[in-house]
């Protein structure tokens, strides 16, 4: 039942992706409302899936890589839906849907839904730490999406090669402002997640902590150079993409290691 909900959710994101591709290919206007509702419906199915999993496990469903990726996809959709219309820039939904779709299709197809070898006890601090960190990843993912959109628009403006997508993408300054706010939101949540990690019952795994701090420092540095105007917006956008790619890789590594070395 829970996997069926996830498949239904993936289909919602896939529909939004197809609609975007069709609209861009045919050169017809893209309406954000369609993507918003498709993502909203997909989010409801995701929530259903996580709820069923959570009840079955008796804790927050973040016990294996499969659940981590689904939770990440859920966080991206959540941040997209709650950031509000001011930052939910036109076409951001069109870019968000493919990202969520890719994360979920990977989670569904890869053989990673392996039950955790050790039945983990419920620890509120641990669950808070894990869930807040994942929502922070959702904000970083959207900052990455805004970064991709920024680079796409900037390139068209620089090279004078205007494609039909140019008219659908938001202005550079709005994109950069959204990117910065998403970075701050993600950083604040990630910091909260990191700090709450110290209150968990078990011993702190050194590798996890190191990786988490590397990600935290990476994003902190981006925000600092952005604050000091040391880097051009284009470079900040590029760094956002690199940072998210690195963060997802680290997330993978952390969960892979914790599954292969559970103690």
């Amino acid at each position: 039942m829970d996997r069926q909900l996830l498949i239904a959710s993936t289909l919602c994101f896939f529909t939004a992706l197809l609609r975007t591709l069709f609209a861009v290919r045919k050169g017809i206007p893209l309406h954000g409302r369609f993507n918003f509702f498709a993502i909203g419906l997909g989010f409801l199915f995701q929530t259903g899936f996580l709820s069923i999993r959570g009840h079955a496990l008796g804790r927050c469903p973040l016990t294996n890589l499969f659940e981590v990726f689904v939770f990440l996809a859920w966080s991206v959709a959540l941040v997209y839906l709650v950031i509000g219309p001011a930052y939910r820039l036109s076409l951001m939904g069109a870019f968000t849907a493919p990202l969520v779709f890719l994360i979920q299709i990977f989670a569904l197809l890869a053989p990673i839904d392996i039950p955790h070898p050790v039945r983990l006890p419920a620890d509120p601090w641990l669950e808070f730490h894990a869930s807040v960190s994942m929502i922070a990843y959702g904000a970083f993912a959207l900052a990455c999406v805004a970064g991709v959109m920024y680079l796409l628009q900037e390139r068209q403006l620089k090279t004078h090669k205007i494609h039909s997508i140019f008219y659908h993408l938001p202005p550079l300054t709005n994109l950069f402002s959204a990117l910065t706010r998403l970075l701050w939101l993600g950083f604040a949540l990630y910091t909260a997640g990191l700090v709450s990690g110290f209150f968990t019952g078990g011993p702190l795994p050194r590798l996890k902590m190191t990786c988490a701090f590397v990600v935290w420092i990476f994003y902190g540095t981006i925000l600092q150079v952005r604050h000091l105007h040391r880097l051009a917006p284009r470079r900040v956008a590029t760094l956002c993409i690199l940072a998210f790619s690195a963060a997802v890789s680290v997330l993978w590594a952390i969960n892979f290691v914790s599954q292969t070395h559970p103690t």
């Binding site: 206007p29 004078h160 550079l172 917006p233």
Partner: protein, 348 residues
């Protein structure tokens, strides 16, 4: 009831011929002398068209005779006129209102002009049930064509391309600062286009202080001494340059120190001077977007080409509406003819 359209447009007549018929005849005259049951005159700079309905078919010559009688000097030029009846008339009107028959494909001004003409005819009582139906349907068609195709997308003149690019860089233009370098006519047109989007901080710099002040007054800006224009580059967001200088006024070496004080604010440079005022290498600098007259024109032409690509989709929508409208009209015009003004208003 016969629905028809007789008129001339930029496709069939030059401006001299068109202006001879613009505003010379009233709808009432066409009803009383021409035998039309309903009449609506659409007169824009690109077309003069009579839309009407009659119990019995009226010959084009008869309608032209009435049109020309309204004129002081009678000049025969019937070749420029075209006529559409029934379904073809509806199709023509739908194409006109959707901007497909305009000089600049997809322009939206025509919709407002047709709405104004329709309101006038309705208030005067010369537009009845049949014209009401066909015009209301035309407005629906225009809305659908606009919202489901990219026919109105993209700017098609140098000034509007500049504004569109500025919007895509800065978003809201109200707080943006503009410097005009050189008081040329194209600069004035471009800054007026920016002005229409809310830009109020306009500075004008020219070798002749007098001309700078004159243009500054025209665009409600302020004149800046020509030897001070470089100092402005740290503050401004948009630079419009059109001087007659033989050598580039702005080079990377000159701009670099100014960019340092701008933090990460983008700078949009519109260089419409020939020879160019800004060295092309400036476009390679971080956060600077340089467009010369050729690149602006290329985008305008690209937009037009993109609009042309949308023609087939727009024509398809129109064909569907024409078919549906004709089918409905087949049995409904008698009922429509008996509609009261109140019922007409509720239909709209």
């Amino acid at each position: 009831m016969n629905l028809f359209c007789v008129g001339l447009s930029h496709h069939t007549a030059n401006v001299e011929t068109r202006e001879r018929y613009a505003g010379v005849c009233s709808e009432r005259a066409l009803q009383s002398a021409g035998g039309c049951t309903e009449a609506l005159l659409l007169a824009t700079c690109n077309r003069v068209e009579l839309y009407g309905s009659a119990e019995q078919p009226i010959a084009t010559g008869e309608l032209l005779r009435v049109l020309q009688k309204c004129r002081a000097d009678e000049v025969e030029n019937t070749e420029a006129f075209y006529r559409y009846d029934g379904e073809a008339c509806a199709r023509h009107l739908f194409r006109v209102v959707a901007g497909l028959d305009s000089m600049v494909i997809g322009e939206t001004e025509i919709l407002g002009q047709v709405k104004k003409a329709y309101e006038g005819a309705r208030e005067s009582g010369s537009a009845g049930p049949l014209l009401h139906r066909v015009f209301q349907r035309a407005f629906r068609v225009a809305k659908q064509v606009r919202s489901t195709t990219d026919i109105t997308r993209g700017a098609v003149s140098v000034g509007s391309v500049a504004v569109e690019l500025a919007v895509k860089i800065f978003g809201d233009l109200r707080e943006r600062k503009v410097l005009i370098l050189g008081a040329g006519e194209t600069s004035e047109r471009t800054v007026r286009a920016l002005n229409s989007r809310g830009v109020t901080d306009i500075r004008v710099s020219n070798r002749s202080r007098e001309r700078a002040e004159k243009l500054a007054t025209l665009v409600q800006g302020r004149a800046v001494s020509f030897d001070q224009w470089t100092a402005q580059c740290g503050e401004i967001d948009i630079l419009i340059s059109s001087t007659s200088a033989d050598e580039p006024l702005l080079t990377p070496a000159l701009l670099e120190p100014m960019l340092r004080v701008r933090a990460d604010r983008p700078l949009f440079i519109i260089d419409i001077a020939v020879p160019r005022d800004v060295a092309p290498e400036v476009n390679d600098m971080e956060g600077v977007y340089l467009y010369d007259i050729d690149s602006l024109q290329a985008i305008a032409e690209q937009s037009l080409a993109m609009r042309r690509q949308q023609l087939a989709a727009a024509e398809k929508i129109i064909a569907e509406h024409v078919e549906d409208f004709s089918a409905r009209l087949g049995g409904a015009d008698t009922r429509a003819a008996s509609l009261s003004p109140r019922a007409l208003a509720s239909e709209s």
